[in-house]
Subunit: 205 residues, 2 copies
Amino acid sequence: MLRSDSSIGQARAAVADKREAILRAAIKVFAQKGYFNSKVADIAKEAGIADGTVYLYFKSKEEILHSVFDRAMEEFIAEGKREIAEIEEADKRLQRIAQLHLEKLGADRDLAIVFQVELRGSTKFMEEFSGGGFAEYLEIIQKTIQEGQKTGVFRKDLRPITAAKILYGALDEMVTNWILSKRAYPLAPMADEVLKVFFGGVLQK
Amino acid sequence: MLRSDSSIGQARAAVADKREAILRAAIKVFAQKGYFNSKVADIAKEAGIADGTVYLYFKSKEEILHSVFDRAMEEFIAEGKREIAEIEEADKRLQRIAQLHLEKLGADRDLAIVFQVELRGSTKFMEEFSGGGFAEYLEIIQKTIQEGQKTGVFRKDLRPITAAKILYGALDEMVTNWILSKRAYPLAPMADEVLKVFFGGVLQK
């Protein structure tokens, strides 16, 4: 029994490893060739496996793109929730979320290209991805702003969902600029630049 | 001579009309079918002209997309410059720019789809479009912020280019949300929502 359990465990781990290898390869291929120009065969080659093997794990190139998005969002949201659970003040929680957003994408340029460019090339994709993990992310920001309004940290005359979208939009623009820039610079520190404006505004008091 | 001048004028006007008709048709086709799925023949059909006629005006589908972008940015920038030239305070100028951004795209949903989605589906496009008209737009925002810092309207501890990108990113997110929303609402009023945060910040003073 022990041996059998152990082999099932090993088999599961092998499946997870192969899925993981395919997704890693896909991120690289999509970032380099663009989603529309990428073929499942390119992903298989990058992952060092046979074309047919990819289809044991994913039905199509589109399913691979969805899995790339879902997996990255799940990881990001799980880590974000874990971290902010330990922070009391709403503004500090928001700061940590913003930092994490730029740390994650700043640590993986290929993933950032997939997120900023490849996922946005069609209204169909945009509609699919603006639901799901993305909506959950926006809701976390929104709730944090609401909580801050209750505790008196944040102004009460702002709609939390609109403020959440403004913060997201500003961070998102930092990521896109970072990808397109010819100059190499760390992305993560831009979070505090964004928060300086988002928290304090640009007007001289 | 008079008649000849007049016919040249008429011929030029006819060329401009046809170019204009092709670009209008292209915006509609790109928005509905997506750029990658659109064919020059679809654009010709929508414009009510022969396929070959399109090629008298544009070399390729890609050149049409570039012309759509260039023309819209030129119009927007010319109108923006004209309007802000008459406004003295930097914050009021910024407000007018933000309003104009959302008024323009809010008045033309197809153009907004082309701008928010179709122009962003490849790193190649993103690189091309982030130069040119887009860079000029960002520079106008940046300079307005710099001027406001000089006159004391805006805080001096912010990098103008970063603040400009934050404002742009927030407005841009409003446009994308507006396109993807199942709910119909006017886009233009969102400019003042963005400015409330951008000017004053979310922190309770």
